[in-house]
């Protein structure tokens, strides 16, 4: 198992896309948190005591979706370039291979979520400072912000991971992963109204306080619904991964 995890980590860290996507995410944060909400900050946002926490949540809601593609690509490349046969013949248990992939994606998602959750408010502070403005007193509970952000970042990564494990097509999984939250669930939420609180991405995004989605449910509900989707998805992925042809 340790050998499989080491191999998966190497896979993730030896492709250009990992670094390009990560740098792209940082650039987006600089643009939005630094320029948009910092240099061009409105008076209202400067007075908002939750401004910095909101920067963390906004960052994870948007770039968390993009960074999740790294995990998707890492797994998707195996099917696209047929490296999956090496992965499966190096291990004596398919489920071990899948678990190793999920663990590595989890590690990557947690680390990048923490980085984004802290980098975004830092960018905002620096931009406000250097533009000669003054930010009002802030309420920023680091651990509270971090767990929300890590949960959402990890949730996105797991959704992406599950999609590629089930679909086994890199392009198909990317399209699905971007279409479901951006278009699919928007339409479904409009149709089903309050039942939208049971949708996977809507639930996950609602874990961040003050998210765009405002449905009648509490945090525990959204966390539970997200965990059920992730748990169920991983179970389906495991069953399919163990039984299907490796191609």
């Amino acid at each position: 198992m340790i050998a499989s995890i080491r191999a998966e980590l190497r896979k993730l860290l030896t492709v250009r896309s990992t670094y390009l996507i990560f740098l792209g995410c940082l650039a987006i944060i600089v643009l939005f948190a630094g320029y948009g909400d910092g240099i061009r900050a409105s008076a209202a946002s400067l007075r908002n005591p939750n401004q910095l926490a909101q920067e963390s949540y906004s960052a994870i809601l948007f770039v968390g979706l993009i960074i999740a593609l790294v995990g998707l690509l890492s797994f998707g490349h195996e099917y696209r370039y047929n490296g999956i046969m090496y992965t499966l013949t190096a291990s004596n248990n398919r489920l071990k291979s899948l678990a190793a992939k999920a663990i590595v994606v989890t590690i990557f998602a947690v680390i990048t979520s923490v980085i984004f959750a802290l980098f975004s408010p830092l960018c905002n502070i620096l931009a406000i400072h250097f533009s000669g403005k003054r930010l009002g007193p802030q309420s920023f509970d680091v651990w509270d912000v971090l767990w929300h952000c890590v949960f959402v970042g990890w949730g996105y990564a797991m959704y992406a991971f599950i999609l590629v494990a089930i679909i086994r097509s890199q392009v198909g999984a990317i399209v699905m992963f971007l279409l479901i939250p951006l278009i699919g669930e928007t339409i479904l939420a409009a149709v089903f109204k309050d039942l939208g609180k049971y949708l996977p991405f809507t639930s996950l995004q609602s874990v961040t306080p003050g998210s765009l989605v405002a449905l009648p449910a509490n945090l525990a509900h959204y966390v539970t619904v997200s965990l059920i989707y992730i748990g169920g998805g991983l179970l389906v992925s495991a069953v399919l991964f163990a039984r299907r042809d490796a191609n």
Binding site: T14, V15, Y81, M85, T89, A90, A246
Partner: protein, 303 residues
């Protein structure tokens, strides 16, 4: 040895592999032959557990998944371009080494063996087919496995590369390992393989040594030229041999040239030529798989 027993794989109610059983012996190179679509690649994937199907394959009497480190038991090359195109060749091998608990120092050794040390830091996406095959072979031998399973490893190799591959695989088998290799280069296979497994439409056609396969073939025998062929034919009929007449003379199968010479001498039949004939592997292959080809081409004139 590798023992494949009753392998079966069905695609949309059609058998790609149908009750296939054979043995791959250690210390030998075993060629795996069959026309396009015969099920060679599927068979290899079934043996490795990559495809779902029925049947059982054991490596030294144990299934592959019962070994703690399978990549030290069997090395595979099923597809030449099975790598990420921008990850360097060296990194590709290091990933496989990490997955198989193989020391990283072995990566440099195998790059050197296959002649890719100079390009180890390049992405293999721009490698030629031959270079990709070499990288695949490096990956296969990384764990110094007892068994090698290679699907068309000679594709794309230049003549020097093919000669290197032949010598390398023979030497690998001579060390007490087993090499199971499929190829369409029949002349190469006849020089390289000790045994052959021939399949057609997913079923076993032959599982024997190259020598036996060639000897049993209709084209094999002894060509006899004599001014008294009819008399010799009558004498040979009594020996229960297979005879066929041609413009060149009489082809006698099932008896050695020594026996024919002695018989002719005893009965005073003059002999002008007594030439043992050996069929080529291509002749034998075409004869064995005459009805087993899934896809057959036509000449332009036949349209």
């Amino acid at each position: 040895m590798i023992q494949a027993r009753h392998l079966k794989k069905e695609y949309k109610k059609k058998y790609a592999v149908n009750d296939l059983s054979f043995t791959v012996e250690t210390g030998k190179v075993t060629g795996f032959l069959g026309p396009n679509g015969a099920g060679k690649s599927t068979t290899m994937r079934l043996m490795l557990g990559l495809d779902a199907g029925t049947g059982k394959t054991t490596f030294d009497d144990k299934p592959l998944h019962s070994y703690a480190q399978p990549s030290k038991v069997v090395g595979i090359l099923l597809e030449a371009k099975a790598f990420h195109p921008t990850r360097t060749a060296r990194q590709h091998l290091k990933i496989l080494a990490a997955a198989g608990n193989i020391p990283m120092g072995r990566v440099e050794e195998v790059l050197d063996i296959v002649g890719l040390k100079e390009v180890g830091k390049k992405g293999p996406g721009k490698f030629s087919l031959g270079m990709s095959q070499r990288l695949g072979i490096a990956a296969a031998i990384l764990g110094r496995p007892k068994y090698l399973m290679l699907d068309e490893p000679a594709n794309g190799l230049d003549p020097e590369g093919i000669a290197w591959l032949r010598d390398f695989l023979k030497a690998y088998a001579d060390e007490g390992n087993a090499v199971f290799v499929s190829s369409h280069l029949l002349s190469e296979m006849s020089q390289m393989a000790d045994n052959v497994v021939v399949i057609g439409r997913g079923q076993l056609i032959a599982d024997t040594s190259i020598t036996e396969l060639l000897a049993q073939n209709a084209h094999a025998g002894v060509l006899v030229r004599s001014p008294k062929l009819n008399q010799l034919e009558k004498l040979l009929h009594a020996q229960k041999v297979v005879l066929s007449k041609s413009a060149e003379g009489l082809l006698v199968s099932g008896v050695s040239s020594d026996v024919i010479g002695k018989l002719a001498f005893e009965h005073g039949v003059p002999i002008y030529e007594l030439a043992p004939q050996t069929a080529s592997l291509e002749d034998v292959f075409l004869e064995l798989t005459a009805d087993a080809g899934e896809y057959k081409g036509k000449s332009e004139a036949a349209k």
